[in-house]
Amino acid sequence: MESEKESAASFDLWDVTDLTSIQITQGLKQSVDNRRVKLTGLSPKLAGIGSGANNSIEVLVDGDIGPFAWMLSQNQSVEVTGRAGIGCGHSLVSGSILIRGDGDHYLGVYAVGGLIAVHGKGGDFVGYGLSGADVVVRSRCGVGVGARMSSGLLVIGNGVASQLGAGMTGGTIFVRGPIGGTAEGVRPVKMGESDSLRLGLLLARAGLKAKTSEFQVFRPDR
């Protein structure tokens, strides 16, 4: 992902102060492919920004985003300089969402494709019901990480609380740091070569530096 400094000059600046979520999302949906948009003045109280958008654009949000941003979206490349609200990337289909601040509860819930990366910490139930997407959180997360996930990769960089992988039926969770407790039916496995490779690629895509050997790997019991 490009840094903000490198790409700022080439963005169309949209001041969305006083606009509604629907107006902003409609504007994003109607943008032509390959457009680069920078949103300023976005209220973090607005929910569903970018929901259902499926055009190939880059979006840079200067500030925080509200709940359920980019729900069921495709093909968008999103960077948020601040925090994300609850349920960011809900049912994400493809594309990428980079949060430079903290994520919140239910980050990436039910996401089926694409990448969600958080440079701060996550909340509870990060990756709940994950169904094929990749979610990376650099810092710590709360309880229930990876609960009910069925596929995809979940990477946590600085520990999780209890109930890791509760109800998990598939996919892989990588955790570095302290683990408050794993749920029944989830077991640590040895990091294989393919695991190490996938983790390394994912960390690189998320713009994070870490040694793959520092991570533990968890999968559901067969």
């Binding site: 629907i22 929910a47 569903g48 509200g66 359920f68 729900m71 069921l72 809900h90 049912s91 019901g129």
Partner: protein
């Protein structure tokens, strides 16, 4: 005797069809609209099909769908179920999705109505989605889902009949376009009537007296269906009246143990729908009503229990 047997219309509809009962003079359609929005959707009749699938209906699925299309009766089915049908056989479709699973554009695309059923696809239990960590997020969630699914079709919530009164009050203030109540053989008719009457009153108090309510009911007689419409239902499922007769193959394999229905060939479904329409129109004429939602003032109860549950006067009062 069920509660609906203890509720009667006044004046009592004539036993023969009045020659004045012309369908076009009375409004059987069900309108879905949003406050402040000039767009609306009209379904021509209050009948829906909710439980039929291709494997149950085979080999009559194509014929069934064609007749449902001609009758204007929507069916709750997946987009895959109708994907191989010829264009002139594709009926109006209800797309329904449970919570605790990814949303799907492919499922919702082309649907006439969209229902978010508040039942976990994983646990089979009723409730709000887990990502709704506080009820204050409901409005945000619905707005996001509406935007995500394209806001092309009326968006509804599916609920069980034991939904708490406080929850119903909350739901009445949400930005939803319709509500479905899910019932099955284990749910008593008393519960259905109680819920229906209560919710219709709550909606009226909230300034939304016309919000459509669909009752996904179990097997009930046509007369009971009319009473449900009078009590506040806008749409009622009629699967048990329209499903095709089971084939010998289905019986032998035990695919689906249902009672027999009319043959689906030769327009029988269309005739059944027309018969239901005539019965409803006949009732409207006999009671001097223009629309089904006016029938409630024509209801009387023959027992105190029915009067209390349905909130209607006793016969003779």
């Amino acid at each position: 005797m069920s509660i609906l047997d203890e509720i009667v219309f006044i004046p009592s509809p004539l036993p023969v069809l009045s020659p004045l009962a012309k369908e076009q003079d009375h409004c059987l359609n069900v309108r879905f609209s949003r406050p402040g929005d000039n767009c609306f959707l009209d379904l021509p009749t209050p009948w829906v099909m909710c439980g039929l699938t291709p494997d149950i209906a085979q080999p009559n699925w194509n014929t069934l769908c064609q007749q449902l299309r001609q009758s204007g009766v929507p069916i709750d089915c997946t987009s895959a179920a109708i994907s191989n049908l010829p264009v002139n056989s594709i009926p109006k479709r209800i797309f329904r999705t449970d919570i605790e699973q990814p949303l799907s554009l492919s499922g919702a695309g082309g649907a006439t109505l969209i229902e978010l059923t508040c039942r976990s696809a994983w646990r089979g239990a009723w409730g709000w989605p887990p990502e709704i960590v506080e009820l204050g997020l409901l409005d945000d969630w619905l707005l996001s889902v509406r935007s995500a699914l394209g806001d092309f079709a009326p968006l509804g919530l599916g609920l069980p009949p034991n939904t708490a009164r406080s929850t119903l009050h909350r739901i009445a203030s949400l930005d939803v376009d319709w509500i479905a109540i899910h019932t099955d053989e284990k749910v008593s008719l008393e519960s259905i009537v109680l819920w229906l009457v209560l919710f219709r009153q709550i909606l009226s108090d909230a300034g939304r007296p016309e919000l459509p309510i669909m009752v996904r009911n179990r097997n009930t007689t046509p007369e009971h269906l009319l009473k449900l419409l009078a009590l506040g239902a806008s749409l009622v499922s009629v699967d048990h009246l329209l499903e095709p007769r089971r084939t010998a193959t289905n019986e032998q394999s035990g695919i689906h143990p249902r009672i027999n229905r009319p043959e689906s060939a030769d327009g029988a479904i269309i005739r059944t729908v027309q018969s239901l329409n005539r019965q409803l129109t006949h009732l409207l004429v006999a009671t001097n009503s223009q629309r089904p939602n006016e029938l409630v003032s024509k209801l009387r109860a023959t027992s105190e229990a029915a009067a209390r549950i349905a909130r209607i006067p006793l016969l003779g009062d």
